[in-house]
Symmetry: C2
Subunit: 182 residues, 2 copies
Amino acid sequence: MISGQDDAWYVGKRLATKIRDIKDFPKKGIIFRDITPLLQDADSFREAVSFIARHYRDKNISFVVSPEARGFILGAAIAYELGAGFIPVRKSGKLPYSSEKATYSLEYGEDEIQIHKDAIKKKDKVLIFDDLIATGGTAQATCKLVEKLGGEVTGVCFLVELTELKGKEKLSEYDVFTIIKY
Amino acid sequence: MISGQDDAWYVGKRLATKIRDIKDFPKKGIIFRDITPLLQDADSFREAVSFIARHYRDKNISFVVSPEARGFILGAAIAYELGAGFIPVRKSGKLPYSSEKATYSLEYGEDEIQIHKDAIKKKDKVLIFDDLIATGGTAQATCKLVEKLGGEVTGVCFLVELTELKGKEKLSEYDVFTIIKY
């Protein structure tokens, strides 16, 4: 029997051929994993979305929540495929209505993200999706936002995981699913 | 016979009930048309995406191109529904690979957007989607970017049109389709 995560190994290997490595972006010493070739390849885009949606098909997900901006792309398509609503998490000052806030640490200092307070009701089942997990700060803050509003974080999913940065450790209380691992 | 644009009137009226008006955002005197209640309502989100995709179903669209960040949300889901690839247009400094640039005017000064140079090939049929057209500057610059790469702008679509700002006049050479009009 192939479990979801084993199945993901094969899909991940195939989708990884569509990720472009960019050296020294956004700064020296970093290898940036560019997902735009995957998004622009219709077959790979479709496979990524439908594979992830299939993983959560029987979980009664009401909302997919994704942080801006790259997370919106696959996150919204996954919401569509699941028949769920989509909720954006944004940087400060971008959401126009009453918002809940959470902060997370950066290399130097911290940053703040927000969600509309009326986006989620108590016990709503939420899938959090982002394109990539690095240190996990944004994802952890997104989980906090969903829980502050009373939502249940049913799953946290990333297309790409940078395993060396151990971001998953920050999300140990959640069910985390990643497809392409570096 | 109901034409695409007449049909859009009914769908637009229904979807408009899910748009939230926010007075004085982002600054005094502006009524911000907040689409987040529509996105988070699964039925409305699904109706908007499937209605727009249906309008372009027989046009052999290879790519949906959307400017960041809100444009990504419906744009990516429309690409998914059409079986097309998705190409993000981003502000300066966000795209990691070799990019084409275009500038557009703001109230004071100008701004620059970019697209990856290898995103589109000659004669590729492109649908440009953004959530809202105001003065049309971003959309016009996005059309220029697609054409610089040799792509054909098969259609330009917006969920919301602020008709008083006459942004469509900047796009007079293109086939423009809008759903909700103010």
